[in-house]
């Protein structure tokens, strides 16, 4: 499997603050890769480095195996970008801007352009100054999706879209990937990432704290168990891999490490199991775990790194 995007130990300083502090990111061909992190984590800075708009202070970044700074122009023939804050020339119409960006990227398919304008319900005759934030974003999205570029880099592309348009966006992106294109999607909308992305990279304070497929991340994470028992659940606490046990009469609630699940299930049987609910971690829980951590300790101690792509089946 080939890596379309590969970043190793990227650092970027703005004055005395480190925007990136050893960031790693790998995006494989043909996948939709979720790029997650709270505000100010460094997602946009990473993307601007990948676009050759700014230069990293340390580490390496490659795009299709080439240097995004030195080979910016040739690389840009193979990608389309939607910025987080889409600022458009106020006196040009949406249609003109779509054509302009499309033409610069080597032309766009007129049928696809019409179809996308239709799907996103965009009025291409309006001047950009008359568009709302969501509509400006649609202009950039239509221009990017209508291009034939094999790589899409989307920086929080749905931040201004209404739920209806968000659904249109998700369907369109899934179509795109069905054509074999690759997408890097930076987002805070976890439900969106959960629906679209096979793999995600979670960053915090300019560092990668977790990367891998969602399925693998769930494997290395804890499952939440709620059960009703005939016997006394208090003894569960002594089992390895059980955390945060709460006993409320016959009801017990706890989290259990994936590898301890079988042993714990056996023990629950011995204790006279009456009912059982087991929920795998949601992306939100995965995400919050890192930041809950941060609230407690005020820093990253041991980043949890799931098995990398190379180990993927």
């Amino acid at each position: 499997m080939t890596c379309v995007i590969s970043c190793r130990a990227l650092t970027k300083w703005f004055g005395a603050t480190a925007a990136l502090d050893g960031l790693d990111l790998d995006v494989a061909e043909g996948e939709i890769h979720g790029f997650l992190g709270p505000n100010g984590a460094g997602k946009t800075v990473t993307i601007r480095i990948l676009l050759g708009l700014i230069r990293p202070d340390g580490g390496t970044a490659t795009l299709f195996g080439d240097d995004p700074w030195a080979d910016a122009v040739t690389l840009h023939r193979r990608l389309a970008y939607v910025p987080g804050d889409t600022n458009l020339w106020p006196n040009l119409t949406g249609g003109e801007i779509i054509d302009l960006l499309g033409q610069l990227r080597g032309g766009l398919d007129p049928a696809r352009r019409t179809e996308l304008i239709d799907r996103f319900d965009l009025d291409p005759r309006k001047k950009a100054r008359a568009y709302s934030k969501g509509n400006r974003q649609k202009v950039a999205l239509v221009a990017a999706l209508a291009s034939g570029a094999p790589l899409l880099i989307l920086d929080e592309p749905t931040a201004g879209l209404d739920p209806l348009m968000e659904a249109v966006f998700q369907d369109t992106v899934l179509d795109t990937v069905a054509e074999g294109r690759t997408v890097l999607l930076s987002s805070h909308v976890l439900a969106e990432v959960e629906r679209l992305c096979q793999r995600v990279t979670i960053i915090r304070k300019g560092r990668t704290v977790e990367t891998g497929s969602l399925a693998e991340m769930r494997l290395v994470s804890r499952t939440t168990i709620t059960a009703e028992l005939a016997g006394d659940g208090g003894s569960l606490a002594s089992l390895p891999g059980v955390h945060d046990l709460r006993v409320d009469g016959p009801r017990v609630m706890f989290e259990v490490d994936h590898e301890a699940l079988a042993a714990v299930a056996g023990r629950l049987g011995e204790l006279g199991l009456r009912s059982l609910v087991s929920s795998p971690p949601t992306l939100e829980e995965l995400f919050l775990r890192h930041y809950g951590d941060e609230l407690e300790h005020g820093g990253v101690d041991h980043p949890v790194v799931a098995p990398r792509l190379e180990a993927d089946p």
Binding site: R48, L51, G52, L53, I54, R55, A72, V73, T74, L75, H76, R77, L79, Y81, P83, D85, T86, N87, L88, W89, P90, N91, L92, T93, G95, E96, I97, I98, D99, L100, L101, Q103, L104, R105, G106, P124, R125, K126, K127, R129, A130, A140, I153
Partner: protein
């Protein structure tokens, strides 16, 4: 008007460098002028000699004033003649920029919505912008008065001079507040505001040469009409105050009837797709700068026509005053009309320098607004992107200079009956093109290497203008005038052509542009 005071404080905080820079620049200019005039024309005899040489010269009337008090010259009369119009013009420019910056231009950012969503009265932003502008004009007036008094100029005349400068400045603040309500964009408002300023400047000049009644249509006429140091007529100041009041009231009335972020002029839908022109980077740059360029073209051409049409009066004047003609013929080796035309064309060159700076800085404003990011993330190299706007800058600057010369030549050819003047004046105007391009080069150099310091390009233009306009009165040594690219431009048609300096200026401009773009290629894209 709730929260006006808080908005005033916000403006003062945001402009904590900008406002003192204007203040120091204007007052400093007055200080050196007052010092120089005090030492050169301190005696009435010296002042009489001044009047004998410059008096009655229409070229100077056009660019200085009607010469109130030339019948009984004093150093104060000289001071007014040399400084008043230019300082009032500078104060006017300052007010145009300031008012637009904090009204119409500000509305283009989402900040304005944010501010308006808080407990802020509908009129508060306009009132706050005007209040700050008024405050700065008062400060300029006080500073001008202080430095002038320090060199022993009479009190009454000094107060009249300083107050008139401040009030003329503020008058253009008020007209810009109205323009800000009418225009569709901040760029449009500043264009309209400065066009009114330029129009007033030219009309006042023509009025004083030809038809004094015209001068009173402009704030400049009322300001100079106070006759500082020449039997003050204080009521003209009241006229200016009234003008400012009417302008402010109009702006407030209009602002109450208008949506935030929109002008009063209606918005029409545009094309659903891009034409061939817009699709090319240069075409896009042209499309984005088109309105500005066309506005300037009309302005420069009309100014040329006006200046050219007055030139014939110079010849008439010469017939009336043979001594003066002899004198000027001796020093310049050229006719009075030619000397005047050379001055007029040089002025137009400086004015087009303003266009060149603004246009070359378009690269920076596109970058700061985030538009550059969209294009540079496409397969468009930084060279091509940067050169696209500069191509418009270069072609339009040369075109504007030519148009100014064409206007001057057309009018002068018509009044003098010598068709050849058309070519002579157009060529003469072209001589300042390389100097204009050097300004574009300076702006690009700053853009490439220190993008946050690009306003310094305006400081360079201001410096060159001061060197140009005040060289004589300040008795600047020759080498100082050579610091300005305009100091190397031969004063055709009064002087013979010298090609070498022009070629060197052209090469300098090319080098500055090239080095600037190299810097831009090497640096991070920087948002505002």
């Amino acid at each position: 008007m709730t929260a006006t005071v808080r908005l005033v404080r916000l403006i003062l905080r945001r402009d904590r460098l900008r406002l003192p820079a204007w203040l120091v620049g204007l007052v400093g200019l007055m200080a050196v002028s007052a010092q120089s005039i005090h030492s050169l024309y301190g005696t009435d005899e010296a002042a009489r000699a001044y009047v004998a040489t410059v008096g009655d010269n229409p070229a100077l009337v056009m660019f200085a004033g009607p010469g109130y008090g030339f019948d009984r010259p004093t150093s104060g009369v000289v001071l007014v003649n040399e400084t008043m119009l230019w300082l009032a013009l500078a104060a006017g420019l300052m007010s145009v920029f300031l008012v637009n910056r904090h009204t119409r231009a500000e509305e283009e950012s989402e900040r304005a919505d944010l501010i308006r969503s808080t407990v802020v009265g509908r009129h508060a932003p306009v009132v706050a912008a005007l209040a700050v502008t008024a405050g700065v004009n008062v400060a300029v007036a006080l500073g001008v008065a202080a430095v002038t008094l320090a060199f022993g100029f009479p009190v009454a005349g000094t107060v009249a001079l300083a107050a008139a400068i401040g009030l003329v400045g503020m008058a253009f603040g008020a007209t810009t507040a109205v323009a800000a309500q009418v225009a569709g964009t901040g760029r449009g408002a500043v264009g309209l505001g400065s066009a009114l300023l330029g129009l007033a400047f030219v009309v006042r000049g023509v009025g004083d040469v030809r038809a004094p009644a015209l001068s009173w249509l402009t704030p400049f006429g009322w300001g100079i009409g106070v006759r500082a140091y020449a039997g003050e007529r204080w009521w003209t100041l009241a006229g200016l105050v009234g003008f400012i009041g009417v302008g402010t009231a109009t702006a407030l009335a209009l602002s109450a009837r208008r949506d935030l972020g929109r002008g009063l002029l209606p918005e029409r839908p545009g094309p659903a797709g891009a034409g061939a022109v817009t699709l090319h980077p240069v075409g896009l740059a042209w499309r984005l700068q088109r309105g500005t360029v066309l506005g300037w073209a009309v302005g420069v051409f009309l100014a040329g026509l006006v200046y050219g049409s007055v030139a014939d009066d110079v010849e008439t004047m010469m017939a009336d005053n043979p001594q003066l003609a002899d004198y000027l013929a001796q020093i310049a080796g050229a006719s009075l009309a030619q000397a005047y035309l050379a001055t007029a064309i040089r002025m137009l060159g400086l004015v087009v320098g303003g266009f060149a700076v603004a246009s070359a800085l378009r690269n920076r404003s596109e970058e700061a607004a985030g538009y550059a990011e969209l294009l540079l993330a496409a397969p468009l190299s930084r060279w091509r992107w940067g050169l696209a706007h500069l191509a418009v800058t270069l072609v339009a600057s040369i075109g504007l200079v030519t148009l100014g010369g064409l206007g001057t030549g057309l009018a002068y050819a018509q009044t003098s009956g010598d068709a050849g003047q058309l070519v002579t004046m157009t060529m003469a105007a072209l001589a300042s093109a390389p100097a204009v391009l050097v300004l574009a080069g300076i702006a690009t150099l700053l853009f490439g290497w220190v993008p946050h310091a690009t306003p310094a390009a305006w400081a360079a233009l201001a410096l060159f203008a001061v060197v140009q306009l005040f060289a004589t009165v300040l008795r600047l040594p020759h080498w100082v005038t050579l610091l300005s690219p305009f100091g190397h431009v031969p004063s055709v048609p009064a002087e013979p052509w010298r090609i070498l300096p022009l070629v060197l200026l052209g090469l300098l401009a090319a080098a500055l542009l090239g080095v600037g773009l190299v810097g831009f290629r090497r640096r991070d894209l920087a948002a505002a």
